[in-house]
Symmetry: C2
Subunit: 270 residues, 2 copies
């Protein structure tokens, strides 16, 4: 077995590449795919489901829902739609980005909103056979994107729920700086919560706005192989997604980025 058998290409790595072409590239190479809701909705949920089924491609996650730090009925309804979409395309995992601090609110009130939303959504996710995966984002996103910043915090939020309903995302880009990260991965595995394992490298300088600075595997300082070993040591043997938000990659042809990413993946992990 080659490590490439576990490779999954997150569509955001080639954000402007046609979903059909991305799925076909994954089919040709025996890769999984991480889908995104916008291109999925653009093609249509049924057509997208048929596309991946006919191609025989495994959908490893759907990105992304969440943004429920103000857990309004509208926000919850959109999350339920996302659960439906994940179920329709056979994605076992729906990635959750928890959302920003609300106007007039605090980081604590936003975190309370996340708890409320999870309690509302977990039973429905379980019913649909989709695991909600709480993704801790790098603390530089804590005010405007995701108030959940560490693996420990994600695991504490997931703790009240069935691991089949609520898990966490282990994404190297967001957690590599954390002095408690190895303990967090061990705990995530022991509690059966690793619902998604994603890779991206940390490079500097960061671009303005910091969203699109994720580096190709091997270009930065993250010890990728060490993360693989730590995650696998917990008994995890699932797919490994590569998700890179990077303007320079996004400007290039998707097929080229796909091949380069696959090669970098094999290089840093083998």
């Amino acid at each position: 077995m080659s490590i490439l058998d576990r490779f999954s290409f997150n569509h955001a790595t080639a954000k402007f590449w046609d979903q059909r072409e991305a799925v076909e590239a994954c089919a040709r190479t025996g890769s999984g795919i991480g889908l995104w809701r916008e291109p999925l909705q653009e093609m249509g949920v049924e057509a997208s489901a048929k596309l991946v089924k006919d191609a025989g491609v495994s959908v490893t996650s759907l990105c992304r829902a969440g943004f429920f730090t103000d857990p309004t009925e509208e926000a919850l309804a959109d999350n339920r739609r996302a659960i439906d979409e994940a179920a329709a395309v056979g994605a076992p995992t729906l990635v959750l980005v928890s959302g920003p601090i609300q106007p007039g609110g605090t980081i604590d009130s936003a975190r309370e909103g996340v708890k409320t939303a999870l309690a509302e959504l977990a039973p429905y996710a379980l019913e649909q056979g989709v695991t909600l995966a709480i993704e801790p984002l790098h603390p530089m996103f804590a005010s405007d994107r995701c108030v959940v910043t560490t693996l420990k915090e994600s695991l504490d939020l997931a703790a009240p729920f069935d691991p089949a309903a609520v898990g966490v995302v282990v994404d190297t880009y967001h957690i590599w700086w954390d002095p408690e990260v190895w303990h967090g991965i061990e705990r995530a595995g022991a509690e059966g919560r690793i619902a998604s394992f994603q890779l991206a490298d940390w490079i500097t300088p960061l671009p303005a706005g910091v969203l699109t600075g994720r580096g190709q595997l091997g270009d930065g300082c993250i010890e990728m192989r060490r993360y693989l070993d730590a995650v696998d040591a917990t008994g995890f043997d699932g797919p490994i997604e590569v998700e890179l938000f990077n303007d320079a990659l996004w400007a290039r042809p998707g097929a080229e980025v796909f091949e380069e990413t696959r090669a970098a993946f094999a290089r840093v992990l083998e």
Copy 2:
């Protein structure tokens, strides 16, 4: 007693303002000052010491030393010089920014370097009556500036040493996102480690490179009054420095920035 009696102006908030003018503004308003090594060396250590003494201004900290993730003799010698400078100007505290990941090294090897350097420097600091203050920096600086990212990590690094030799910096800008921050402050106080208390606000979007995005107090999402209450609840009653790295502030006249910062300080804390 007014909260302004505890106000200290970190010179970096008006980076290009003449050190003499900054000290004079602090003298006129009964403020403390946080000095920086570069302007201090430019004026000369003795002349700087005479300046603050004659003005009757309290030096609350000297910024900054550290950068010893590769603890060479050269790096340690520079830190000893910084300790001497702090002692000369009567600064009770020398702020340490621990430094980047070294070429070919890992974040763990860099953290080991910090431990080694602290053990080398702590006895000398104690002898000179200067407390080394380990500053956890925001995790967005973890690769290229400071591998120490949380209050917990700073306290664990300080633990082997006399609190008079090694303490920590509580800087709102760097730690506000941390779900464990209130526990960290409580612990820092209980262990007698709060060697410096600094304020800056978190605003987005972050500029390219992310270094100079620190917001004026009240312009961002950090609950300043809550931090003051938490720090004071530990028994701390020392000075409160405002340190803002901000291109827009740096482009303006120092005297104006000083008055604006003092007013913002009073507004958010009273």
